[in-house]
């Protein structure tokens, strides 16, 4: 057994935010990147690699430094990078968030982004992609378990408000 030397609320909140707010989009960005490169859409590839790096940085900041709360979207990247300043992956994230002067070969860029995503997954855990046929039901099942877990420590859920509008009453 491994004890967690952190308050239960903060630990579960940070893990839940990392897994659910950031995990599914990061998985989707990698698919978007492959689609962009296959279609020769370099502008999309630039944007997607930047977003993927930002989401990975936020996931890692949440699960390595347990920062709470998460600032609003325009501050998240900087917030995460500041927290990852001494972590080797912080530099990888910054280079992609900053933007690439020249796009590398397609497979090099995909590999770079996939590696970043893999590093985040190793820490955060895997969340099935609800936007694919094979991931849809597993994601729903896992979400249900996570809602129970965050509720058990008195925290509110992590799903976007627009998913749950009208269900709070």
């Amino acid at each position: 057994m491994q004890s967690v030397d952190l308050g239960a609320r903060r630990y579960i909140w940070c893990r839940g935010q990392a897994a659910w707010l950031m995990g599914p989009p990061a998985a989707q960005w990698l698919e978007d990147l492959r689609g962009a490169l296959a279609a020769g859409q370099s502008g999309l590839a630039r944007h997607v690699s930047r977003q993927l790096a930002e989401d990975c940085a936020v996931m890692l900041a949440l699960t390595l430094t347990y920062g709470r709360p998460i600032p609003e979207p325009n501050m998240r990247g900087a917030w995460a990078l500041e927290r990852l300043a001494d972590h080797p992956v912080g530099k990888d994230c910054w280079e992609l968030i900053r933007g690439l002067e020249e796009l590398p070969e397609d497979d090099v860029l995909v590999e770079r982004c996939a590696m970043l995503q893999q590093k985040a997954r190793e820490v955060v855990g895997h969340v099935p992609d609800a936007l694919t046929p094979e991931g849809y039901y597993p994601a729903l099942g896992l979400a249900r378990e996570w809602i129970e877990l965050v509720s058990s420590v008195g925290e509110s859920g992590f799903l976007p408000s627009e998913w749950t509008r009208g269900t709070d009453a």
């Binding site: 492959r34 962009a36 296959a38 859409q41 709470r68 709360p69 600032p71 501050m75 917030w79």
Partner: protein, 362 residues
Amino acid sequence: MTTVQDKRVEELAARVREFHGVELSEVLEIIDYLRDGEDSVLVGGSLAYGLGNQKSDLDIVVAGRATKESSSRMPLEHFIETLRVDVWKLREDEIEELFQRAQRGLESDAPFEGAFGDVFEQADLKLLHRVAYGVIIDGPALLPAGTRNYREVARDLLVREYAERMRHALYVSQLALGAQQFAAAAMNARFGVEDALQAVIASRGLPFSDNKWLQVRLEKDTPDLREVYRPFAVLPEGGAATKKFVEAAIEQVEKLSGLRLDADSLSSDASWEAPDLRLVPAGDLRALVSPEQDVVFELDANEADAWKALDGGPPWPCASCTDIQMKVCYRLYANGMAKLLWARGLPLDRLSMKGVSVDAER
């Protein structure tokens, strides 16, 4: 004779066939169970707007006079081969109410502040544009009953939404620069330019596609704006380069929007809010505590005095804050513990980018 509508359906069908090997007839068949009577089927999203690729999904609105029940805010997902089909079913009165709410928002001086969807979901913004600009693949056109032209409302709403985001980002950029947070300064300067370009693109009557398509759209649909973006695509490193970058972003966006966007000009409308925090001194420890968020900050003596001296409120108007109060509030904001609010929105008559429609039939 081929109409604009026929041409749009043909182009959409070709893209769906090319990227997914799926026919629109198959799409209609799989969502048929959702239609009441002669409900219309509108397709929005990147594939309908001449963007997209093999990973793009199809966003569909089913609506009409006969529609009985609406679906939830979450789309109903369907899969045909590699194509994901997301469907929202809406009653006509709900669509009308959404456009009327948008119209009221446009007539008001109050800032939007996420009233039409947060930055990630942007649900209402996307829905308005799906209805206004979507390709009708079956059924009659949806016509507004209580508001002006759907496209005008959707266009104006997007222009204002992005203009307000642009103002916010550029103010934050300048505050971050003052706090020597160079990554935050540069990132927000770039956001400001991107938001401004989105507002300009919307003002030209192009349907909404979120930020991930911005660079593709600059290449494809608005090449005159491509060079505007180029200097801001890659962020600088270091303090001096970031200062120049932020200044250049402000100058460029002022040209695009016709607004004054220096920090002094913006501060008169901005204020801070941090309702969860209270200062609890205990000997030498000056703890700024949020029990709700399970968060505590330690302040030094000067910061604690500055915090105590914040008048009444919140909100605290930025124009009335001292330098040290601004620094404390900015640091709280950067850590998610304070909000930056705006007293006024940006009605279109304050913007020079408003209402230029170059291709209304697109």
